[in-house]
Amino acid sequence: MTAQRILGFGVVGWAGMRPEQWLSDCRVPHAPLFSPEVAPEEGGEPASTARESVWPGLVPDNEGTVTPTPPPLGDVRAFAASLFTRIEPQLLWGFRAEPLLGAKGLRTFDRLTRLTLVAVQGALQESGLGDLAARCPDRFGLAWGSAFGALESIEELHRVAELEEPRFINPNRFPNTVANAAAGQVAIWYGVTGPNITAVDGRCSGASALAHAARKLDAGEADCMLVGVSETLSLGMCQALDAQAARAEALRLPGFPSRYGEGSVFMALGRAEDPALSAAAADSAAPTLGFHLATALRFQSPGDGRRLVYPERALARAITTALTEAGLSPQDVDVVLLGGAIVEGAALDAERRAVAEVLGGGARMCVPGSVWGECFAVNAGFNWLAALSLFAGGAWPTPAPAGDGAGRPDGFAASAAAQRSAERGRPDIVLVVSTDTQGLAAATILRSPSAT
């Protein structure tokens, strides 16, 4: 499989993450994202704040030292926070797409669709491919992933059917309950008529979407694929997560995530050597942000009678496969962005062990998700963003802590590759990993545009 060029990026995230500031610092082009137009709903506090100190996990201080402490939550937990005793959902409840998309046509869309439309807009604008998409709509496709998809809309209409009557279900809202609704609405909004694939593979949904997109580009079925992930959580899901957290607390399970987030991330992906895409990107002065070299997914059975597993073996195999497909050796990887959203816990330890098994004990591992919380499928999307930021000279993300203290090497122990990158100030090769406790694991390899 050949490499794909990343030509544009769009992101919507919790305002407290301040992606605009971060991207600006890192000189990655970006759309005006999750902006102060965000308004509260039903009397809540504004979801977007001007806090200046909410991104310390990725911004070095004056000494160049990365602060590993997670930031304060900001004001977004105003959303229904009183409902939950153990988790703090950072939901984009008040998100308004109107300032970016216009008021017309959004009325029946759910939040998932609105977030996705805005992220795609960012990717198209930054890639400079909007005009080309309008002229050749059948050569543009979409591959989109989400762990929970249309859950919020399903809950909304279940509520109507259960507490009122089925005949009160709004037929215009019913299509939102189908998992591919957001992808279909994106196609309508931007006129994209090529292959349109929705992937629902838990935390590995982003990797799945990338893999589907790469195959379509490789087969010549499309020349540009808009690839992304989105996640919104429903109240019911938050209740269930709260209940899970309570059980984890009762069982004294360490490292259970308490902070949950939402968002959407999109990239415009084209074949590396496509002349038409190159010309269009050059016309709009859109830089190449990076290259996608390979994505591999592997499964590991939890074993008889068990439901869940931390798929360490599967991740090791996925990394090995991705490296082989990319034509790289383990020593070529400069930094690994782990998929977990917490810095302690069995899931992240399993990821660390798998990475160390393939790349060696000196592999440099980071956990950017410790800043934004558990965002399920979007964890991977934010890690793509972190990788592109690093390519553009951004700060190194939060290091992973040493692990369980059983003698495994520190995440910051210097490998030869990490040493090279540190000297240059930016990495050439970033490995993004994702795991889902049902047994799926994924590895994605991204390359810097300046790497030789």
């Binding site: 080309l132 399903i154 279940h158 009557e165 709004n170 019913f174 998992a179 694939i197 838990g202 195959r215």
Partner: protein, 416 residues
Amino acid sequence: MEAVYVTGMGIVSALGSDVESWWQALCRGESGQGPVTRFSTDGIERDQACEVKGTPWEPWLTRSERRQSGRAAGYALAAARQAMAQAGFGGAKIPAPERRAVVVGTSMGEGDRLGALHRAWFHEDAAGVSPGAVVPFGSVTLPALLARAAGCEGPIHTVPGACAAGNYALGLGAELIRTGEADLVIAGASEVIERLQYAGFARLGAIAPQRCQPFDAGRKGLMIGEGAAFFVLESAASVVRRGGQPLAQLGVVGLTCDAFHITRPHPEGAGSQAALQRALSATGLVPEAVDYFCAHGTGTEANDAVEAQVLRTVFGTRIPHVSSLKGAIGHAMGAASAIEAVACVQALRTGVVPGTVNLEAIDPALEIDVLKRTLRQTKVRVVLNNSLAFGGYNAVLPLMGADEPAPQPSLGSLKP
């Protein structure tokens, strides 16, 4: 282009839950329709569906699987195990675990479990929410259960392509083999009838009051169905290595998006036509080669008109045999095109083309001929399995006889 073979298939459907009895009932022109028994239809103004009767999937599941599975997973496991049995799965020469993959199509997954959770929450507040409630909705649940059953350690995917999900799963499964990512893929789709879905289609005015009559002048809408169909797909090398018996070949799925309306097809069928043409060209087929067109044929006014128009445009005066199975098995949504693919394979194997149950008088405005009754003893070498879906998704899957030479594809390119 590397050939991708079907070496096993299995089914759970309102009309039968093994391929042979299902096929015989289909060819006899039977219908699986009956009153909805799974939930109350009070306030919905419709009460008919094509439900899977009884629990025919249970014998195929282990005790542990029965405990962990909702209906969607139960259907899927039963259909997949039938397929694996037919393929002679389990021999020493079966591809290594890492070379086996799973691709599952669905629209709502375990929708009934989600409904149960929501009902508990709405009526009992937080106390009704089980701590384990997140797990069953984990979107990896369906393929993970199948991967465990089949000992797969390669990639697993869920593709919720709405009512085209079955073709998506089969097409993307074949793609994993063609790209060399797998040698064997368990691919198919599963769907359960759930109250919200049923009520939603009713509120859209899409469900027929009495029966589904595809392409009929008096058609009044679709009939909701459910079920699953799964296939074992293999590379040519794997089939040869283990002496497998291929049943059919899969071509390249044609995927497009209407980008027109979230529920209605493009009025001129532009996306559907492009998908059909993409499937033909990517597989290396010409329209004249197609012997049977297994229509999406939902029995709604818009769908049948668009499909007829696409057929006239692509095939001109040489339209192949056309029929719809939805009068017999209902519209199984995400599983529909996977179930219909079973009929496509059977048509290729037997030379029998099933008719269109409940079709009495073909709508003259459609200007196409549609099989009313089962056509026996005809030559079937190439079949197109057509599907359209919410979101404007179009997926067309070509299937060829097992002995047909592998066609050579031609691909498009960007011409700004």
